[in-house]
């Protein structure tokens, strides 16, 4: 058990992470609507306590796999805001060189194995990362973030079973945010506590208040210790809420107007943490956390704006390892495809063919 000052210090750290995520995502929302960010973006506003509480337990060499809604996980795992914002702005300096975007953001330097465009796409990656830790005899753990909707897909069931029978150091963190895309969980399953599914695989499960970063942190501390010591997988269900639509621009016809405001009024994880810390955190210190996060985001946007778009040829490289090597057969094939897509250039000054047609 942590001492009171250490607990306060942890609370401030969790609060700092949650505020950075909130500022980042509100900024993404603004810049998306302004047309600075192409594609789709899925926000996790309301769920910050889960990302912060989980990742505060992890080392850089531990793996996480994320969902469509992965900005918070990525930032909490340690990716720089500059590299994230540049990626969302589709710049060459982005963490994925502008090839992933919001839905496929990844940062292997901090063990972030990627946001996934496929619901339940992360389970296999986490089972494999956990298996890899066993094969290589390390004490790394792997954490899968997923939503309630993912538990209705086959890979959830297959991978939970696989991790259970092999006692792998995998931790399954369910962000039960009440909606699977634009359909409420109540309509897509007959159970309220999705984590009861873990029992079917012999995996212990706990349910925590997903608005309480301390509660998430404590559940993960236990799960991480268990996984590192060879105790096998754990399932943690975080009861949380998605304060925004499925994607930016979602008209949210599937829920009552004002529902999100009501939940955030009572359960905003940032407000709850601030209240929980009480006098241990001065109003000035709280304000400073916000200002620091806003400065960091402004710097990231400036960095992105000053970064170049990827070179056009970049589209043709990176499929295979080694394909920048001219001796590689794949490289030569891709060069041919690239050349085929470039229109014939006019032969300026060749003088032989007149005006052409």
């Amino acid at each position: 058990m942590l001492s009171a000052p250490a607990r306060t210090e942890l609370g401030v750290a969790l609060l700092r992470t949650m505020i950075r995520i909130r500022v980042l995502e509100e900024g993404i929302e603004k810049h998306f609507l302004a047309g600075d960010i192409p594609g789709f973006a899925h926000l996790s506003i309301g769920q910050e306590a889960v990302a912060a509480g989980v990742c505060a337990n992890l080392r850089a060499d531990d793996a996480i796999a994320s969902t469509h809604r992965g900005h918070g996980h990525t930032l909490a795992k340690g990716t720089s805001m500059r590299a994230m914002v540049a990626e969302l702005f589709a710049r060459a300096t982005g963490v994925c060189r502008g090839k992933g975007g919001s839905m496929h953001i990844a940062d292997f330097s901090v063990g972030m194995l990627g946001a996934n465009g496929v619901v339940a796409g992360g389970f296999g990656l986490v089972a494999g990362a956990a298996l890899s830790a066993v094969q290589r005899k390390t004490d790394q753990v792997a954490v899968c973030f997923f939503g309630d909707g993912a538990t209705n897909r086959g890979p959830f069931h297959e991978n939970l079973n696989l991790c259970a029978i092999w006692n792998l150091p995998a931790i399954f963190v369910l962000e039960n945010n009440r909606y699977a895309s634009t359909t409420s969980t109540a309509e897509t399953m007959k159970i309220a506590d999705v984590s009861i599914r873990a029992a079917g695989y012999g995996i212990p499960a706990t349910i925590v208040d997903g608005f309480d970063a301390f509660a998430v942190y404590d559940a993960l501390a236990a799960a991480t210790a268990r996984a590192r010591s060879g105790g096998g997988p754990t399932f943690v269900e975080c009861k949380t809420f998605r304060a925004r639509g499925h994607y930016i621009g979602d008209p949210e016809r599937y829920r009552r107007k004002g529902e999100a405001d009501d939940v955030m009024q009572s359960d905003d994880p940032i407000v709850r943490m601030q209240a929980g810390l009480g006098d241990a955190l001065s109003p000035d210190a709280f304000e400073r956390l916000w200002n620091d996060a806003r400065d960091e985001f402004a710097d990231a946007v400036a960095f992105a704006r000053n970064s170049p778009a990827p070179e056009r040829d970049e589209a043709f490289f990176g499929v295979f390892s080694g394909d920048r090597d001219p001796a590689d057969p794949v490289h030569r094939i891709e060069a041919r495809e690239r050349d085929a897509l470039v229109p014939f250039a006019p032969q300026v000054g060749s003088g032989s063919q007149g005006s052409g047609h």
């Binding site: 094969q135 890979p155 079973n161």
Partner: protein
């Protein structure tokens, strides 16, 4: 050089790679205690233990998904699919994850995973245990696809697949497992993307791969009796394709037959024929002829099964008509 079966050649490849690299491990259904349905894993757990040769539940999506995850994080997994048909149960993991992650993530990672997928028509296995699906994966950017034709290929290509830093599908024809051939003893690795000329003739080129290479060689012997001298190209890797070898064969013989056991429509042969049409048109003395399975599921009754895919007489007949301009 030793003579061994195709199955033993794959075992030799696995044994050598697992001794060489401790991050190589194997997982699949019925592979450890049972040794694999074609005997292709016999003895491996005794040498390497049940942690490196893992029996698994019947969970193809999890096996391939976990293979990708392990490959991303420092291992070289070899995943056995039991039958190639069951890759369909793990299509997201193959097509949306393994094939794309390196590209989408801006080259931060590699996916050095090998999928072993016994495929092809044999012994009335029926529609769901007989398919040759390589065309799907050649069409998907990000996957290497290798298809051995004999015991030598079996060893050299499997070792190359395991050493490759890319996700590689290794389609091994079920009917080839018991077939014997000469296999180099030493550390024998076949470079991916390079074809092998099995026979060098001047009148017609038969471009093929996998089990159909043997049928093409039989066809070449039949053609010899008619005074027709055929080249036989074994592609060995169908992605990346050895376009240079194909163009060279077209330039030297002026007539090309492309043959494979997979369904003809939309298959690898279509890509090869189209490439020759685009790049080698002036070399040709006749149309590129394509042979492949009929556009039907593989039927059960032996007489029906044997009717649907090209064998040596059909290949010889196509080549003969092409040379004699009887098309």
């Amino acid at each position: 050089m030793a003579t061994m079966t195709f199955s033993e050649a794959t075992l030799a490849a696995m044994r050598e790679e697992m001794r060489r690299d401790p991050t190589v491990f194997l997982m699949g259904e019925d592979i450890a205690k049972q040794g694999g349905i074609f005997g292709q894993f016999k003895g491996l757990p005794q040498e390497f233990g049940f942690d490196r040769v893992r029996d698994t539940p019947i969970s193809e999506a999890a096996l391939v998904g976990a293979g990708v995850g392990a490959a991303l994080t420092g291992c070289r997994p070899v995943v056995d699919m039991h039958f190639a048909d069951f890759i369909t149960c793990a299509m997201d993991e193959v097509v949306n994850q393994a094939a794309k992650l390196r590209y989408m993530f801006g080259e931060q990672c590699r996916v050095p995973m090998t999928l072993r997928a016994p495929d092809g028509i044999t012994k009335s296995a029926g529609s769901q245990h007989s398919q040759a699906l390589e065309g799907w994966f050649v069409h998907t950017p990000g996957l290497e696809v290798v298809i051995p034709a004999d015991a030598e290929d079996a060893k050299g290509l499997l070792k190359a697949a395991i050493r490759s830093d890319n996700p590689t599908l290794y389609f091994e024809h079920k009917a080839l497992f018991p077939v014997k051939g000469a296999v180099p003893d030493d550390d024998f690795v076949i470079p991916l993307g390079k074809a092998k000329t099995m026979r060098d003739g001047r009148d017609v080129a038969i471009v093929t791969y996998g089990i159909t290479v043997g049928r093409a060689l039989e066809a070449a012997t039949m053609l010899e009796a008619d005074g027709i001298d055929a080249t036989v190209i074994n592609l060995r890797t169908v992605w990346p394709l050895d376009y240079d070898a194909i163009a060279d064969a077209a330039a030297r013989t002026h007539r090309v037959v492309v043959a494979h056991e997979a369904v003809k429509i939309g298959g690898v042969g279509a890509e090869i024929a189209s490439f020759i049409g685009e790049a080698c048109f002036d070399d040709l003395d006749g149309p590129v002829v394509r042979l492949g399975a009929a556009h039907v599921p593989v039927p059960f009754a032996p007489v029906l099964q044997e009717a649907v895919y090209p064998k040596a007489p059909a290949i010889a007949d196509a080549a003969r008509r092409l040379v004699r301009r009887e098309l």
